[in-house]
Structures are given as C-alpha cells and as structure tokens.
C-alpha cells in the first residue's frame, strides 16, 4: 500500500467516525411536504409490511400480472388520501391492517395464482386504506399536493423495486414446485401470515 493511499484511508476513517446526522430539516424546506409524504409511510411498520408483502405477491405472480400494480398502487394511495382528507372517510384500524397482512401472507404461502383483476383489486383496496391512514396525519399547514405527490412516488418506488427484486430472485423457472426459491417465497408468506394472525388476535384482545 503506498503512503498516499494510507493517508487517504486514515483521513476517510476520521471523517466517517466524525460523521453525525445532517439535521438538514428537509421537511421545513420548500419541497418539504413532498419528502414528508414520501417518508411518512416508510416510517410506519404497518405500511412497510403491507407494501412489502403486496410487492412480493405481485413479483411472485410474474411480470405480466405484477406490472399493473406499478400504476394501480400509487393511484389507490392518491384515492385513499383524497377520501381520507376531503371526505374524512376512514377504514383504518389495527384489525383491518392485521387482516390484510394475514390475507397477503396466506396468498403468498399457498402460492395461489390469483387472476390479474383480483390482484389489482386487492392492491387498489390496500392502497386506498393505507392512503386514508396516511391522510390522518396531514396537518392544516401541509401542502396537500406535494404530500400526495411524495406518497404516490414512494408507493410507486417501493412496489416497483420489491417486485423487481422478487422477479430477479425467483428467476425464470417456476415450474418446479420444490424449487428452493419458490419455497423461500412461500416461507416468507408463512411468516407474514403468522404476523398477521397474531396481530388479528391482538387487535381482538385489546
């Protein structure tokens, strides 16, 4: 190793060790509400699980069926946000969320080949409900257009990326029922369903 590289490495180590949170307060910036809309669902574990499970389900059903979600899911989020904000309709609740986690998990675990229409309907319903849930935290000073744009972009990015990852992981050959990749995705579905089932029980108990 030459001396310049050594110095550079040490300087980099010092810089990395000293790095602290940026505290940039992007939410207070001009496009802050866009970032707020984009990041709000990503900081909620229910959104993370539900969006992720929806993306995995779309990916396991293949690109031909799943690609519709790229459009349907963000539109559903926008519809839910509008319903929640303008009409103050809320279908949110821990039992509804837990039930959706359970349904998505069971569909994944059983590897049911649901039709494209049913997949789109499920994704739209899920997105509407989560859009409503995200609308509940909108303040009067929030720029709704920017928040909605951020939420839709976030939904688009998460669904597309998760489906792409699952499609890449699944590979081309899905005809073998005992392919370890297929079993891994089904086992993941079993885990998701188990989480959903316990949360249904918890929401019924509380």
């Amino acid at each position: 190793m030459n001396i310049r590289l050594g110095r550079g490495l040490i300087a980099a180590a010092v810089l990395l060790a000293q790095a602290s949170p940026a505290e940039a307060h992007i939410v207070a910036a001009r496009l802050g509400d866009f970032y707020a809309g984009a990041l709000h669902p990503l900081t909620d574990l229910q959104d993370v699980i539900l969006w992720g499970a929806m993306g995995v389900l779309g990916g396991t059903l293949g690109a031909a069926r799943g690609r519709w979600l790229v459009l349907v899911f963000p539109l559903g989020l926008l519809a839910g946000l509008a319903l929640g904000q303008d009409f103050e309709i809320t279908l949110t609740g821990s039992t509804v969320d837990a039930g959706m986690v359970l349904v998505l998990g069971l569909l994944l675990a059983t590897a049911v080949r649901i039709p494209t229409v049913a997949l789109c309907a499920l994704a739209f319903a899920l997105a509407v409900i989560r859009g409503m849930a995200n609308a509940t935290d909108l303040g009067p000073e929030t720029d709704r257009l920017l928040f909605a744009a951020g939420l839709a972009c976030s939904g688009y990015a998460v669904i597309t990326l998760v489906m792409a990852l699952v499609l890449a992981f699944r590979g081309a050959d899905t005809s073998v029922p005992t392919s370890w990749r297929k079993i891994t995705l089904q086992a993941l579905g079993g885990w998701i369903a188990a989480i959903g089932l316990m949360m249904v029980g918890y929401s019924l108990a509380s």
Partner: protein, 201 residues
C-alpha cells in the same frame, strides 16, 4: 506500509473514541419491540433447542417435510400465539414445551421415520404450545407488531439453522454428529421437564 503512517494513527484513534450518542435504553418503541420479540425465542433455551430440533428432524425426514415445515410452522405457532394473547388456558404449557424438546431431540437421535402426516401433527401440537408462550408476552411488549415481526423472524431463522445442520446427514459422520446432537437436545429437554415438574430445584 511505511512507518510514517503511524504518525496519523493517533488522529484516527482520537476520531474513533470521541464521544457519540449512547443510544441507551433501546427497549422502547419500534426498536424495543423488535429486539424483545427477536430475543424471546433465543433467550429461552427450551424454545431454542426445540426449534432447532424441528429443523433438523425436517431435514432428516426429507421432502416434503423439509419444505412444508418452514412454511406452515410459523402459522401454526401463530395460532398458539393468538391463544396466548387471548389468555385461553392451555394445560401445562411449560411442561409441554420441555416435552417437545425431549421428544423432538429423541426423534432426531433415533432418526425416527414417521409418516409425514403424523410428524406434522406432532410438530403442530408442540408449535401451538411454543406460540402460546411467546404470544402471552406480546401485549406487554413496547410495540406488539414489532414484537410479532421479531419473534416470527427469529423462530424462522432457528428452523433454518436446524435445516442447515440437518444437511449434514448427507455424510455418515455428519449423521452420527446430528444423532449425538439429538441426544443432547433430548437430555436438555429431560432436564427442563424435570424442572417444570418440580423434580429438580
């Protein structure tokens, strides 16, 4: 590397040891729920050995058990979890958990070949009791959803660990090693059974 580099080492060390935020008391909120859920199956040795034994036995039984168990076990366990959350009384859960380690360890040790349906039924009964014990703790956790995620992931990883160990059965020496491990699990299960029955202090 030139010795001159050591001139800069004190600066690097100083940078590393300068105080950062401590992040103490992490057992709250989302992180706390995740950590407590993840650690719950790992910190109870009786749970841990039984879950690993399920994976090993599944690997010994081969298909379809090896791939059906990871898919269905968490779900059956979650049924037990719901019973625990709802405080539905189950008979002697601690005894059954200890018994599960004893029987599953013995099954691994003697390489018990049961029909798939019978093996699944045995594992399902024990899964309900294990889930019951975990589920009972869920409402008390910092974040119940995060606890559930942590506990399911932890249990799944323990199965995976067991299945990975179980792949050693491909080799004769590995098979003997696994059978020895089964004996150890069964003995530990026997100890926990005696403990839960009050036979040992």
């Amino acid at each position: 590397m030139s010795l001159r580099i050591f001139r800069y080492l004190p600066f690097a060390i100083a940078g590393l040891v300068l105080p950062q935020a401590a992040f103490a008391h992490e057992q709250v909120g989302l992180g706390g729920g995740l950590v407590s859920g993840f650690l719950h199956p790992l910190t109870g040795i009786d749970h841990l050995i039984a879950m690993v034994a399920v994976g090993i036995w599944g690997a010994q039984l081969g298909a379809p058990a090896i791939w059906v168990l990871p898919i269905t076990f968490p779900l059956v366990m979650a049924i037990g979890g719901v019973l625990g959350i709802l405080h539905v009384p189950l008979p002697m859960p601690e005894v059954m958990i200890a018994l599960s380690a004893l029987i599953l360890g013995a099954a691994v040790a003697v390489r018990m070949r049961l029909p798939f349906a019978a093996a699944a039924a045995v594992v399902a009964v024990f899964a309900i009791f294990h889930g019951y014990a975990h589920g009972a703790e869920l409402p008390k956790s910092a974040n119940p959803l995060a606890y559930g995620v942590g506990f399911v992931v932890s249990t799944g990883l323990l199965h995976l660990c067991g299945i990975t160990i179980g792949t050693l059965t491909r080799w004769p020496a590995g098979e003997r090693l696994i059978q020895g491990l089964g004996v150890v699990i069964a003995m530990l299960g026997g100890y926990f059974l005696a403990l839960s029955l009050g036979a040992v202090a």
